[in-house]
Symmetry: C2
C-alpha cells in the first residue's frame, strides 16, 4: 500500500469479478485499522477470504465507476459473483461494504517517509495525497464523496485518516529531536497545515495543485515551526 | 452578510414561506459574484425580486432541513409558495436554484478583517469559517455536501470561495507592506494554509476544532511567512 493519508491511489484495475492482486484489498492478510479482526481473517487464504476480497474489490470498482448513486448490493453481487444474500448477511448494506473495504485497505503496511528533513518528509506525504486525489478513478475522491452520504463510510474514512496522521506524527517528532523544529511542536497541527490545502484545492476549489504547489504547502508548514520564513 | 470564505453562517430562520429579511438572500440588491446580472434585479423590490427571494430562501431552508436528497423543485414550490412552473422556467432544476442562492449570497458586502496584524486578521477569518461550518443547520456544510452531487452547486461554491479568497488577499498584502511578512509572499497560499485545516477537521475528520485551535492554524500560517517559529 503506497498511499499516504489520502488512502488508496486508485481502484483495482482487474476486470469484473477478477480483482487484481496488486492494489485490491488484501483480505485475510491484515487487520482492520480499528484493531478488530476482519471477517476474512478466520481462514486466511480460504474461501471466506476469497469471497471477502472479491466483494470488497467489486465495491470499490462499482464506486469509482458509477459513484455512490450506482453502488448497490445488487451491483456488487453482479460484479463480484458473490451471492447477494451472502453480501447482505455479512455486510448489511453498501455502507457496511464500503466501510470494510476502507478498513481492509488500512492495515499495518504504511510507514511515513524518512528523508532526514522535515521539508522533504512533508513534501513526500503531500505528493502521495495529491496523487491519490487526482488519480483517474480515484478511490479516495469517491470515498470522500460517499462519506457525505453514508455514515459507515464516513466513520471508516475518519478511522483511516486518523490512523495515517497518527503514523505520520513521527515525521514532526524527528524534526524536533534533530533540533530542526522548535520544542513542543504539535505534530498533528503541522501535518494538517501541510496536507489540508491539497485536499481543499481538489475537493472544494476544484483546482488541483500541481506537484510543485503541493510541495510549497509542505514547505510553508515546515517553515512555521523551523523559523525560516518563506515567501 | 458576515460570513468569511466559508459563506453564509446558517439558513434563514423564518418559517416556511416567510423568508427572514436579515439572513435571507438579498434578491435584487446584489449582483451575482460572477458579474452577471441576477434574474431578480430587473425590477428591484418588485414582484420578480420577491419571487426570487422567496424561492432562494426556501431552497436553502429545504437543503438544510432535508439535505440534498430532500431538495426538489416540488419541495421548494411548497415551501416558498412560488409555482413549480415558474421555478422550472427560471432555474431549470434544483442545481440551478442552489447555484443562484449561492451567487446571490455573495455580492459586494463582505470585506476581510483589518486588525493591523496578520495573526489577528487570519484568526478572524478562521473564526468566521469555523462558525459557518459548525453552525446548526449550516448552509455552508449543506452546500459543500451538495457540491459532490450537483455540478451547478459545485461551480457556484467554487465561484463563492474564489471570490472570498481574492478579497482576503489584501490581508497578506498589507502584512508585506508593513514589513511583517517577507517580500513576495503569495497571499492565496497563506490564506489556504490558515483556513484549509479548519475545513479538513470539520468535513473530513469529523472533529471540528474549537476557537483556540482554529486560531492556532491561523497563527501557524502567519508564522511561516513572518519568521517567528511557533511550537
Amino acid at each position: 500500500m503506497s498511499a499516504g493519508p489520502a488512502g488508496r491511489t486508485s481502484a483495482p484495475s482487474g476486470s469484473s469479478g477478477t480483482p487484481s492482486t496488486g492494489s485490491g484489498p488484501d483480505a485475510g492478510a491484515r487487520t482492520g485499522i480499528d484493531g478488530r479482526s476482519a471477517p476474512g481473517t478466520r481462514r486466511p487464504g480460504g474461501r471466506t477470504a476469497r469471497v471477502r476480497e472479491a466483494a470488497l474489490a467489486a465495491t470499490l470498482e462499482v464506486l469509482t465507476d458509477k459513484g455512490f448513486d450506482g453502488l448497490s448490493v445488487d451491483a456488487v453481487a453482479t460484479r463480484s459473483g458473490v451471492h447477494r444474500a451472502t453480501l447482505h448477511r455479512r455486510w448489511g448494506d453498501v455502507g457496511g461494504l464500503l466501510a470494510d473495504a476502507l478498513d481492509s485497505s488500512a492495515g499495518e503496511g504504511w510507514t511515513p517517509p524518512d528523508t532526514g528533513s522535515l521539508d522533504d518528509d512533508l513534501a513526500a506525504i503531500n505528493e502521495e495525497v495529491r496523487e491519490a486525489l487526482v488519480a483517474p478513478r480515484s478511490v479516495t475522491a469517491a470515498v470522500i464523496a460517499a462519506s457525505f452520504r453514508s455514515e459507515p463510510a464516513a466513520a471508516a474514512m475518519r478511522r483511516f485518516l486518523a490512523d495515517r496522521y497518527e503514523r505520520s506524527a513521527v515525521v514532526v517528532d524527528r524534526a524536533v529531536a534533530r533540533g530542526d523544529a522548535v520544542e513542543g511542536t504539535d505534530a498533528h497541527t503541522v501535518l494538517l497545515a501541510a496536507t489540508a490545502p491539497v485536499y481543499h484545492r481538489v475537493l472544494l476549489l476544484g483546482d488541483p495543485p500541481d506537484a510543485a504547489t503541493a510541495r510549497r504547502y509542505a514547505e510553508l508548514a515546515a517553515a512555521a515551526v523551523t523559523g525560516h520564513p518563506q515567501p
